[in-house]
Amino acid sequence: MSPAIETHELCRSFAGVAAVDGLTLDARPGEVLALLGPNGAGKTTTVRLLDGVLRPDRGWSRVLGADPAVDGDAVRRRTGVLTEAAGLDDRLSGVENLVLPARVRGIDEATATRRAHELLGRLGVAALAERAVRGASTGERKRIALARALLHEPEVLFLDEPTSGLDPVAARDVVELLATLAGEHGRTVVLCTHHLAEAGRLAHRVAVLDRGRLLAFGRPADLAAELWPGVEADLDLGGAAAPATLAALRSVRGVLDVALTVDGARVRVEGRDVLPAVVAALVAVEVPVYGAVTRAPSLEDVYFALHSQAVPAVPPPAAGVPRAPSSPAEPRT
């Protein structure tokens, strides 16, 4: 299946400073791809490049088979964008903010109005349908803008920080909503965010960006496997492990790493089948084991590990020296 979105060595700079620098990635039809990265990583610029609003300095991209730099209108007819700033006209009502752009897209007035009411209702902002949006809250604006991005039933949806500025409850609502929307009609979604939980919840694959460069790209589990070999497990020992216990753990064959936690220890082992030996070793030294649970590294672990690689501590590592990934197994304070 040909990708819905594909970029190759995409570059764009502003006044000599690279905003997107050699970006190569793709998204399959129906996939949710998260662009993760700190402020200024190049997420918004990437969306603008993919929608043909900005032109690349170098490299190319294809969205639904068309090159946005060449045939932007063909791309934009089939995409919907929730921009970072909702971009609503305060003087217009919720429905007008949806219907007027829909008219530009060639949707007739009656259909546009009907869909606008439906969507605003579904997104929980029906109260703003007939009222000027001046004074609407950030969350309400996001929802109206999201409705606008969806009204023409785009095949590709770009969501630039859909939950920024929302309170936790509103953010969760929007994420749940996106989870259902993303699956609909095999729609491809590009989600820009710095909320890792949101990306973890919604995205099939993540692209981690930093200062315009792609740090990593793939499924969160694959990225974690690349960063950290083996399996991690939390051992509940009823209290922080004693030094002797830690030593006993280290002596087990197949244990890669051991770290202290508040209620016991965290071990990294070569594979799941090492765990029984770990438990046996503890029993042998008469340490009670209340639980042993394998733990998949979270997207958060991956993200922080990647960023600590990308922003090396001074002095920077010499070229050629392999960078040691910081282990998520270190005890948290």
């Binding site: 900005l54 934009r76 700033a85 305060d90 003087r91 217009l92 530009v104 897209r105």
Partner: protein
Amino acid sequence: MTGRAPAVDRAAVRALLRRDLVAVRRSKAVVIPMLIVPVLLLVVLPLLIGLGARGAPAPDLTRFLDSLPGDLAAPIAGLPSHEQLVVLVLGYLLAPLFLIVPLMVSSVLAADAFAGEKERRTMETLLHLPVRDRDLFLAKLLGAFLPAVAISWLGFLAFAVVANTVAWPVLGRIFVPTPMWLVMILWVGPAVAALGLGVMVRVSARARTTQEANQLGGAVVLPLIFLAVGQSSGLLLVTLPVALGVGAGLWAIAVLLLGRGARRFTRDRLAASV
């Protein structure tokens, strides 16, 4: 692809135009000056002047008319002396003042359409629509130009009614539109609207807010207003051929400015400046 420019997407332009007009009608800061200025200039002022000129004892205008360029004075000098003042003021001197209306309406609307879009942070939404840069630009131009011409023509209609009514007791006939007025509304007025537009398009590319655009634009537009005021107060006198020529010159400058504006109005440039 052929070398010819693709046809204008009329439906999209119409939809964009409608969006701007619907929004702008709700904007007090835009609507109020657009109503007050034409009413003051084209209804209140001619009413006062007309009543004043009618009530005053007929002054001797021969000396004044002698000082005017021949073809300006000719149609007036031939009139009975009690008619001269009213016809001179309402039929000729006031005509250039009328130009302030299309100039102001088009620049206020253009500032809202270009700089205002940036200020409200709604420009990016437009850039993500499937419309060609050129069609978007065209829609924004028409959104300022058409109302400017429409309002100035409506204003002129109101003026014609007021002027003919107040002058009726003196003249007993309809005297507006004079040829000078026709040149102003049909030729110079639209040119001035286009010029205001051209200036504001240029200025809005730099300005961050509507207010800033209006200030910058005002610096360019104000001298033109002074010229118009100068003419109407008799300091500066424009004859018909001069008015036609001035109109042509204004059109040329406007077309030049708008052409440059169109070339600079690209998505990439706009997106990079939002």
